[in-house]
Symmetry: D2
Subunit: 260 residues, 4 copies
């Protein structure tokens, strides 16, 4: 052990094994679903069945948002210049900045502040008014509300909130998110409905997910979609293509129903 | 529709919905597991139940390999210089090059060549000898075999191959991978056992996964671990730390068993 | 001109020419030195001869800081995993975060605040005391002072300040930087001498360089060194090397003098 | 000195100094121009005055190519998503792939092959025919010739070749590049004039620049322009902007002449 010795609480490997937070990785394979192993790595424990379902739902909800998302366009542009798969995907990952993807943590912090503040008198709406006013005064962007495309309601929202209720979460963070939505309407006069970042933030708050890893969940999930777009660009498109950010159409399988 | 109009077969969005390969994303949430939606995005169809189990297993198998993996060290170093979460993770992703992670596609191509070549006379071993000799002659690195730490056998291998057998895959790619292992021993005199890249390659070959997205599967999964390490570095470690690549120890939860 | 039409003040190209801030690029080649064309791009005008000399000096000062700089280690680690040249260099660039390289802008803002504040009574030391106290109170890191290796004085400092004096700059930003150094000593009790970030910040303040591009100057220059290290790693070192952050030595040309 | 000890031939630092290839960095500052210190780092020696002029010219020639270059668009897209300066610039750097920027090395190798092959009979044109045919047969992209915008002649070319002649280079690589241009016309029937990558490759060949660092020269230079565009995007444009790749115009200083 030298001067530079350091410690990690996450994982270790030996010649014959890999241990994740104390569990043998070989034992997790085929037994614990991927989103639950992510939860194990990020929180230190395996999720309850209800939380496991929510983790899976949140990861599916963020997996892709079509070819016009900034991260997708940047990744396709990099691929078009000749970047290999991982480098092009990295360009996409780097685009997930404070306005796009890396906003879940901020939304989670705002929602938590409302929950905390409401504990004195139980009034979430008053707490939301205060938090929204404070953030605006401090010039801090309140992420998680409003979407440039889904102006009325994010299509993923109802389903996520329904699953959260089925999972019997407490509900205070979900309500706080709605209270912020109301406060924003009151203060700005604009409809800024909860978006996918805000919904993730509210649900992650319900399950005590670490705020500093909230964006990580989004990043892992969205990398999936970004890599699909990069692959399509690399295998189907001419190089050095000028990629129009709006003038595209979908030519894949037609709309279809899940078989139940 | 202008001069730059282009098409995608992956997904599209409207003001009220997001469609992934023809399926409404809201309907997938909470119904189809995340690794199966990844499979949908990458192949165009939902997996069978057996393939769905394998997809989940492969993603869990790659999720983390301890703090000494090059991608983890690069990402921690970036975080230590003050990079934010996504930028540090991107440094990790960029490290997943031809020697580390971005090797699954190469292994898949070698295994497929052996399977194809063996079709004439049914002799996988002879085909493996030929392919190994050809790649060596062409100076092409044969990825997927040998590991600097797991010298005898990769601890994830038995479990993955067991699951593949349970899933009733044909088995020709698994056997071809073993045949390459044998050919490498014969030709180089060294033990170069199938590693995680090779195992992923063999199983992805069994389920006809697109070769150009083989590395993507690894990247999505391993980003999960990289982000956990970045978060630990950002929240627990002093900035501008000199990060020793071997002198570390694990101080997390002690070894424990999964409750059955 | 469609809905998405946008404008840039930087440059444009035609089939027969490239214009940079109004100048024909072909005419700049071989006539205006590279650091001066950088200045043109970043400020909109060509520098005076004195400023041109300072730009060149600042770029040379930042070009490399040996193999132990975090950006260099991250880039070498990426190269060791098999990343190509540009991807490995990007890992280095991403490491230039708030503690390493991306600190010039912060230092520039602190120095400018001191200069502004001193205008009332002409007392730079008092202004520095106030600014240092304010930043500490706000929990904001005051970059540009102190170095983990060059504890007494950064070796690039004397030369840069000498050149600044030769260039006949006003000197208020240089003095403000010294005043902050003094204030830090008074308030923290520690010697935190002006480092290369602080020196760049002071000189860039003297020549009214845009603060939002202060880190860019460092990044362009340091990318030069990072790429040299990546190339050495790719061409001279075995892949998947465990890269020790301190246990290395120099085996290049022995110390030598510039011929005058 | 432990098991992981390693060596570099590039540079080292002490508490009181920084040495670049044996030279004290403080002595280089203000004495040796930045492109010459780059040359020192990349080759091990300071350039002759003629080579120093060419290095500066090559760096100026690559510094920017307007807002429509793929690297610029990717970087602006990343900035628009909220990426900070360095992360957005990294997205641009990653876009400099085999079709855009990272092509100088390939062009240099083709030109060198022609020069070598011609040594037998002194016939550059015959050598070029052979090399072009070989590369096409091998399915290898011959970079450095043809440009999607500058279809007749790259506007930077005449000036660079004029400077090369003034620098009294041998000229065989310049002639070999012209010979490849001719061979491409003969074989493909298309006009594929030498582009900036090809011109850089030819001149770097004349001065025996290391092929593995040819793209690095381009990357350092072009990062300058990319960072200017990122800064404009961050400071002048609304976030989450849909960035049209062709529908833009220039609104900076009008065309003007260099004062002589």
């Amino acid at each position: 052990m030298g001067d530079l010795h350091w410690e990690t609480k996450l994982s270790y490997t030996t010649e014959s094994g890999i241990q994740i937070r104390g569990y043998d990785l070989a034992g997790l394979i085929g037994t614990i679903p991927f989103p639950s192993v992510l939860y194990l790595l990020y929180t230190g424990d395996l999720p309850t069945p209800n939380v496991a379902k929510l983790m899976d739902a949140l990861m599916v909800a963020s997996i892709d948002h079509g070819p016009g998302a900034p991260s997708t366009l940047a990744a396709r542009t990099a691929a078009s210049g000749g970047a290999p798969l991982g480098a092009a995907a990295a360009a996409g990952l780097l685009t997930m900045g404070k306005y796009h993807g890396a906003a879940v943590q901020d939304a989670m912090e705002a929602i938590q502040q409302v929950v905390e503040l409401s504990k004195a008198d139980g009034d979430l709406n008053r707490a939301a008014d205060t938090v929204v006013a404070d953030w605006r005064k401090a010039g801090r962007r309140l992420s998680g509300f409003g979407h440039r495309q889904h102006k009325l309601q994010d299509p993923r929202l109802d389903r996520l909130f329904e699953l959260a209720r089925e999972a019997n979460v407490r509900g205070d963070h979900l309500q706080a998110a709605r209270a912020i939505e109301g406060a924003l309407k009151k203060i700005t006069g604009k409809d800024l409905p909860i978006n996918i970042d805000g919904a993730m933030a509210a649900i992650l708050g319900e399950i005590n997910f670490p705020t500093t890893l909230a964006n990580a969940l989004f990043m892992v999930s969205r990398m999936t979609g970004v890599l699909a777009h990069v692959n399509e660009e690399m295998t189907q498109m001419p190089p050095m293509r000028r990629i129009d950010p709006v003038d595209y159409s979908y030519s894949g399988p037609p709309d279809r129903e899940l078989k139940s």
